[in-house]
Symmetry: C2
Subunit: 138 residues, 2 copies
DNA sequence: TCCTTATTGAAAATCATTTTCAATAAGTAT
DNA sequence: ATACTTATTGAAAATGATTTTCAATAAGGA
């Protein structure tokens, strides 16, 4: 999804379009790896010098709320964000460079049914994330 | 695995067995849901009043290093720990009470092969976690 | 162009975690 | 049992990430 569509989403939800938000949106939208708030800050500040870190936090919060970005969980920490996948997609992360790819087509129905039967749980959701090496790093 | 086996593991790896460690180990080992360091502190202090929070952090660090516990990732945060599963197992968490169950038998080979082919990534590892409602909470 | 009010950045506050340090106690040697 | 070495401890301070506060600014409708 292009950055403009993100800004439109923000506007449609009653948020104002500011230079700060534009800088953050453009940064996160065009980066294909997960970024921490400080990384976003450093990168976005090149577009808009006066940007404050607090505003980065606040903007990321809104983008997550609108499901335009999602938090990425990794062994080293869980404070990074990446442009969200569309629909039911999962993340595949390169262990070396962090490059992210989304994939779909995970049919876990058979698995979850078996587990529901065994454990007595009603299964509502799943998190699946793959780690590997991207074509470049391999 | 009983608490004694955890203590033995600690001893075998050159760590001393102290009242503080016993209290932490017994707390985490017998709890079937993920606990944050502060929760462990509060619970373990009932067994050993003089326990300090810092020691809880240090003990959890060692237990994780020995793979006796593992960090649990959840939407609300990723600072909680739970007794580790044995071998290649995944977690199933109750959304209501946090009750955890482990399961195995996730054969993702077919899926990962297909994704490797499509994305060009070499896939090394996966994280799978299920969320649902346990028999009690359903 | 004006006006209302959401948004801003800076500073301070908060919260989780880590480091520092002198006192204590495990576990081995005696 | 006793002494001794040194890992471990808890408290306090330091750090690092995130959130709150607040007065100044600037979006965007009137």
């Amino acid at each position: 999804m292009p950055a403009d569509a993100w800004l439109e989403q923000l506007r449609d939800n009653g948020y104002r379009l500011t230079k700060a938000r534009r800088a953050v949106v453009e940064t996160v939208e065009k980066t294909t790896r997960a970024l921490t708030p400080v990384e976003v800050f450093d990168m976005a500040r090149k577009k808009y010098r006066a940007l404050g870190l607090v505003t980065v936090y606040r903007t990321l919060e809104k983008l997550e709320e609108l499901r335009l970005i999602q938090r990425v969980h990794q062994p080293q920490g869980c404070q990074a964000f990446i442009a969200a996948g569309v629909g039911h997609q999962h993340l595949l992360l390169c262990r070396n460079c962090g490059q992210a790819a989304f994939f779909d087509g995970d049919d876990l129905e058979t698995l979850t049914n078996a587990i529901a039967r065994k454990t007595g749980y009603q299964i509502l959701d799943h998190w699946l994330q793959l780690f590997g090496l991207c074509a470049n790093c391999r």
